[in-house]
């Protein structure tokens, strides 16, 4: 009889064998030249520059930054409303959160771009498309972040509020100076997550029908793919997305470990 340890070792060999077999199969079956032509055509890669950076990447960052900033403010306001002792504030905040968390971001974009004009024909969302993107991404992101921020505020030990109040601070002063800063430290990781999600959601701006100068990464990549019948442009913009999100993760990990040291 094999001992449990021998059985475990044998099972591990089987797993390695499967992995190697799959990799070999892919390597032999794949037509590498064809793959390279379809996915990484150097000519096409060069064609993407510099517009992919100066227009598409720039716009993605602008849309995301605006949407996230608005969403963060909205999320904080909604979170504080959710924690309010005034009933109607709690109900309104809960309603807004449930509504925008439950709707696909695409629906919010359509509702804002088309619906707003129909509902208020005499008014316009300021700053044109950028205003619509900011509002739509902010509403969707804010609804998610509100619940995260609320959880963060509630995770700050009660003694912090009590200590602040016992020093004579008002409730709102204690919130601003003592509780909320600590809450944000706690929720830094989930907030980064939200920022990364919003970066990707910013691609939905295509629904607004933009001209070239307003293209963000996804729209830019799709146009490039359609005109060349080749996947290379999509690969390029995919790398651009990673160019945003990976450094972001690294920065936040740094901030976390620094906050950890001060804790």
């Amino acid at each position: 009889m094999a001992s449990p340890r021998q059985r475990a070792a044998r099972w591990r060999y089987v797993q390695y064998a499967v992995l190697v077999a799959v990799l070999l199969a892919i390597a032999f079956i794949a037509d590498w030249e064809q793959i390279q032509r379809a996915f990484w055509n150097w000519e096409l890669v060069k064609e993407q520059f510099p517009d992919v950076i100066t227009i598409a990447l720039k716009n993605t960052i602008i849309y995301t930054a605006c949407g996230f900033s608005f969403g963060l403010v909205l999320g904080l306001v909604l979170a504080l409303m959710r924690l309010s002792s005034v009933g109607p504030y709690r109900w309104i905040a809960t309603g807004i959160i449930e509504l925008f968390r439950g709707l696909p971001a695409l629906v919010v974009f359509i509702a804002l771009s088309v619906g707003f004009n129909l509902a208020f024909p005499r008014y316009e969302i300021p700053f044109g498309n950028l205003g619509v993107v900011t509002l739509a991404l902010g509403l969707v992101g804010g609804a998610y972040m509100a619940e995260t921020i609320r959880a963060g505020i509630q995770a700050v030990p009660k003694g912090q509020m009590e200590a602040a109040r016992s020093l004579g601070m008002s409730h709102s002063r204690a919130m601003i100076s003592v509780v909320v800063p600590q809450a944000f430290r706690i929720i830094l990781p989930p907030l980064t997550n939200e920022l990364i999600l919003l970066t990707k959601d910013s691609s939905l701006v295509y629904i607004l029908g933009l001209s070239l100068s307003g293209y963000e990464l996804t729209k830019f990549g799709r146009e490039g793919m359609n005109s060349s019948s080749n996947l290379t442009p999509i690969i390029v913009i995919g790398l651009c997305y990673l160019l945003i999100t990976v450094p972001l993760s690294i920065v936040v990990r740094r901030m976390e470990s620094r906050a950890e040291r001060a804790r």
């Binding site: 009590e162 200590a163 004579g168 002063r173 100076s177 003592v178």
Partner: protein
């Protein structure tokens, strides 16, 4: 609101803290069952009793961290339980020290000591820093002003917490089991700071298990059990010769 006879408030005129017929419920659970007592100006009153006796709740009612169900509390003649009272303003005159220190972990020691001075008392930054430095020196931690709370030991944290409360230049100090969360070898430093304060004439109300401190420093000792004051008097007498059976049984367990 309960009525209170005038004769009693008369002989308490000038009391720093005056608690009258205080009741406090948590849900259906009555944790304070009619507390009457006062702390004179410059007095040190120690409150002892088994856990769950309501002593911390009583202390927390004095600066309204807990809202009394009924009864009245006067702080230097101002009723803090009055619904129209400016509680924030009164609290700024009452220093409080917690069992768990409750320093603000995202601020340096210096900022812990200055933020309320600037935001609540309206002191200038320079003045606040000066006051903070003086109080840090007083608790023996002048060199820690730029440290973060995470880098302090428990005893240092509690002394910083005392300095933080003192920096508001309070008229009185409340201590809620200030040494209960400390390692035994660190208790002495904190008690030494509290003794200094008492000898300077600070009015203090101290919930504690440190009978030695009560005996040495206290002007008055209050023994609470099950939401009532069972016995109070001179600490040396109460500790040496408790009259009440419940006091005797409690002291026999802790002494």
């Amino acid at each position: 609101m309960t009525t209170h006879p005038n004769d009693r408030s008369a002989d308490r005129a000038g009391a720093a803290i005056d608690v009258q017929d205080l009741h406090k419920y948590f849900g259906d659970n009555e944790v304070l069952k009619g507390i009457d007592f006062h702390v004179g100006q410059g007095q040190v009153v120690c409150v002892i009793g088994p856990s769950g006796s309501g002593k911390s709740t009583l202390l927390r009612c004095v600066n309204m961290l807990e809202t009394p169900t009924s009864g009245r509390i006067f702080v230097e003649g101002d009723e803090i339980t009055d619904p129209d009272a400016d509680v924030d303003k009164l609290r700024a005159r009452i220093g409080m020290v917690f069992q768990q220190f409750n320093l603000f972990p995202h601020m340096t020691v210096m900022r812990n000591l200055t933020i309320a001075q600037v935001k609540v008392k309206g002191r200038s930054k320079d003045e606040a820093v000066e006051v903070a430095r003086a109080n840090l020196a007083k608790v023996g931690l002048a060199e820690k002003e730029s440290a973060y709370p995470a880098h302090l030991s428990g005893g240092q944290s509690q002394r910083v917490a005392i300095a933080r409360a003192l920096s508001m230049s309070p008229d009185m100090m409340l201590f809620d089991e200030p040494t209960s969360a400390l390692d035994p070898e660190l208790v002495g430093d904190v008690l030494a700071v509290m003794k200094d304060l008492a000898s300077e004439g600070m009015t203090m109300m101290v919930v504690t298990h440190e009978m030695g401190f009560a005996r040495e420093v206290g002007d008055n000792l209050v023994f609470m059990d099950d939401g009532v004051i069972v016995e109070e008097g001179d600490p040396r007498e109460v500790l040496a010769d408790p009259r009440h059976e419940r006091t005797q049984s409690f002291l026999s367990k802790v002494l």
